[in-house]
Amino acid sequence: MSKFSGLGGRLYRGETSIEFIGKRRRWYGVSIMFILVSIAALSLQGLQLGIEFKGGSSFTVTTNSPSVAQARSAVESAGVAGELIVQAVGDNKVRVQTGSLETSANNAVQDALAASFAVDVATIDTQIIGPSWGEEITRKALYGLIGFLIVIMLYLAMALEPKMAVAAIVAVVHDVFITVGIYALVGFDVTPATVIGFLTILGYSLYDTVVVFDKVRENTRTITASSTKTYSQAVNLAVNQTIVRSANTSIVAILPVASILFVGAGLLGAGTLKDLSLALFIGLIVGTYSSIFIAPPILASLREREPAMQALAKRVSARSGGVVSSTPSQGSSTPIIGRGPRNQPKRKGRK
């Protein structure tokens, strides 16, 4: 751990520097690949929507002897035709999902299951979803998403810088898109809890980005006054300086989410806890990635277009005697990558 903390110090002073900005084409490439895969998965496979979106009924029987076949025959004997999904949940539950049913048919299914498994009707956990429910959820989620993006964009533009707001929003949209893509690819069930998870990612993914951008702002406040660093180099330093922080905040955010996922999936099987935490879990990982590899490079690209920043890049490059290129690269005055722990003065053992 202390080795890692020592790394934090070197990253802070810029002795060890990872090129997040200079190699941005590589990170963009990785993300574009993910996005293409997401688009392919979404268009070819689509999302596995839960009954909340399609309308239907779900009955869960808790019994000592759960049997999928028995449940199926009980429901079929109740005269329910059409698509039936019957699955065992944990070791003492069996769940039946049907399409949309009339109230009387729902009651008939409950009665049939209760009779077949010799349990009281009241112990059957039932969920009945009307056919128009899903539209309502989807519509509200979309409004929420659009409202959120607008409000956040305005707020970040005020609290930080307009271009930072743009970069942060691009990163957030990137996160949600890739997370949804992963859902399509793997075929995880999408329920309203999942949708809420997706929306929560927005707030979470921004947390890290805000931490990085605030540091960038601090580092670049007087940047045009000097000619030691280009804007991109300053951004790169900020990312390096905050990376330990980002890593720690992400770990600390993921730990509770992972425990909800673990307990939710392990103890309860499917349900609100699992759906919510799975979406958050995937989203947090993608969000951490984007707050380091996507948002800062986009910000650098946006700001480097400004005449003042280009002039700065020229001055920096003249000082170091390098060549100015349109894509900002690390000038030769900056430390080299790879000056790892081994090149540091040995301090261990001196104690």
């Binding site: 934090g8 909340e52 009241a122 309203p192 922080r245 509770p256």
Partner: protein, 487 residues
């Protein structure tokens, strides 16, 4: 600062005891019960009919029905705004199927001629009221046996057919009626309002107007019944199978406008006007979502939520202690205080605004552990950065705070915006998630200001930390500084 915090904690705890809020109210998914969410069905061209008043009226009707079940702590409430307003009914216990049947019926307002009246209880049979044309012996027998003092007879099922002769109670259960077939329907009313007749003293009345169809029907029924003996000259206003009012018709009314007078209070007059107005727009509802959770599953979900919380908290504590060493105890303390405040707020909000903790709410609180711990990390790392700049711990704690505060404020505010928007756009139970997430973000902000920062200031005076002890989290080694002080 720390003193203020202690004071607030003591005040909240005292308040909890004064209010007698000793346990957190659990949602139905944690203790078993049935919840039904109803969405208004919007017919094409009638988009404007879903007004707040119409929804409130529907809530009142459904509440009347649900209360007849006699289950304590049943709730009927409207959620959302505008056309997306929904009605959420939650009833604890295993009354599942009855609730579902009960709330799904559409209420419609109808005018029916009164054929006979009697006192509410079954024992009192008014012999004079019976021989009315068109009343079968079965209806007479049913009427005699009908007991309006029983709650189940006052629940209003909405199953009454317009063409049927029926036996019904008034809303209070004081009077029972035999009613003829419906003659005027609620949707034939075009307007209804309460007014004050200043000339005849302060007498409240309700005036109503009918549309073309309604005018003709109302003219026909009034001219027929006005000359009949008591009680057959009464026209009952029936909503949802219950008699709201049964005014006597004193004259034939062909004009399509009428006034109902009586010894109304202002409130009664307005209520009646509302019934006439919004009963006139029979809102139909779709059952959006029905969820029946057995008490066993509820207990399982509660356990799972608590276990996940303990596990998540444990992991975060282990991580911060491993990384920040003794300094991590400031984080642990902050988390403990945040948890305490959250628990007290759950208790108080349960009492004040009927807050109930759902599974999604627990998930929100667990996720928020991360948000809370994140703020400390941002601050601590900042302090360490300041020390790397060569500042002493005592200075770094202050200068680092100024810079970290900004970052934390912006980042927390973003979380808060997310939570508020989620709350307003979430459907059903998941709102609980947004609510606790938002609540804990606010708590986080308070804690970092009144506890974490002051605590760090105190700690920074201790020799253990200023000397850069290797377990303090501020040793030059863990900061990655050139070794100067370490012995």
């Amino acid at each position: 600062m720390l003193a203020i915090l202690a004071l607030v904690l003591v005040a909240m705890t005292t308040l909890v005891f004064i209010q007698g809020a000793t346990s957190v109210k659990l949602g139905l998914d944690l203790r078993g019960g049935t919840s039904v969410t109803l969405q208004p069905r919007i017919a094409p061209g009638e988009e404007g009919s879903i007004t707040n008043e119409a929804i409130d009226q529907a809530v009142a009707i459904i509440r009347q029905r649900v209360n007849s079940l006699g289950v304590a702590e049943s709730e009927v409430a409207a959620q959302g705004t505008g056309t997306s307003r929904q009605i959420v009914i939650s009833v604890p216990g295993d009354t599942g199927r009855r609730v579902v049947d009960l709330v799904g019926q559409t209420a419609e307002l109808r005018f029916r001629q009164v054929l006979a009246t009697g006192a509410g209880a079954s024992s009192v049979v008014d012999p004079a009221a019976t021989p009315v044309a068109g009343v079968t012996p079965e209806i007479n027998a049913q009427f005699a046996a009908f007991d309006c003092t029983l709650a189940e007879n006052r629940q209003g099922t909405g199953t009454d057919l317009p063409s049927q002769t029926l036996v019904a109670c008034d809303r209070a259960g004081l009077t029972k009626y035999i009613l003829g077939p419906a003659e005027v329907l609620g949707r034939q009313i075009s307007e209804a309002s309460a007014g004050l007749d200043t000339q005849a003293g302060s007498a409240w009345f309700v005036s109503l107007a009918f549309n073309g169809e309604g005018t003709a029907a109302f003219a026909a029924v009034t001219s027929r019944v006005t000359s009949l003996p008591e009680p057959n000259n009464q026209l009952a206003i029936v909503l949802d199978g219950l008699v709201v009012s049964a005014p006597r018709i004193t004259e034939a009314i062909p004009s399509g406008t009428a006034q109902i007078t009586g010894s109304f209070t202002q409130l009664e007059a307005q209520d009646l006007a509302n019934v006439l107005k919004y009963g006139a727009l029979p809102l139909a509802f779709d059952r959006g979502e029905v969820q029946q959770v057995s008490p066993t599953l509820g207990a399982d979900q509660l356990d799972a939520g608590l276990i996940a919380g303990a596990l998540g908290l444990g992991l975060v504590v282990i991580f911060t202690l491993a990384y920040y060493r003794v300094l991590g105890f400031v984080t642990v303390g902050s988390l403990a205080i945040a948890g305490g405040i959250l628990y007290l707020l759950f208790l108080l909000l349960g009492q004040w605004i009927g807050f109930t903790l759902t599974l999604a709410g627990i998930a929100g609180a667990i996720v928020a552990i991360g948000v809370t711990a994140d703020s400390f990390i941002v601050y601590f790392e900042r302090v360490r950065d300041e020390m790397r700049e060569g500042r002493s711990l005592r200075t770094a704690v202050e200068t680092g705070w100024v810079r970290a505060r900004r970052t934390i404020l912006i980042a927390d505010f973003v979380s808060l915006i997310a939570a508020v928007l989620l709350y307003f756009f979430a459907v059903g139970g998941v709102r609980g998630f947004a609510f606790t997430l938002g609540l804990t973000t606010v708590i986080d902000l308070i804690i970092i200001f009144v506890f974490t920062k002051p605590a760090l200031v105190l700690v920074s005076r201790l020799k253990f930390f200023t000397s850069g002890h290797r377990l303090s989290g501020f040793s030059s080694k863990s900061l990655g500084m050139p070794t100067t002080k370490e012995a």
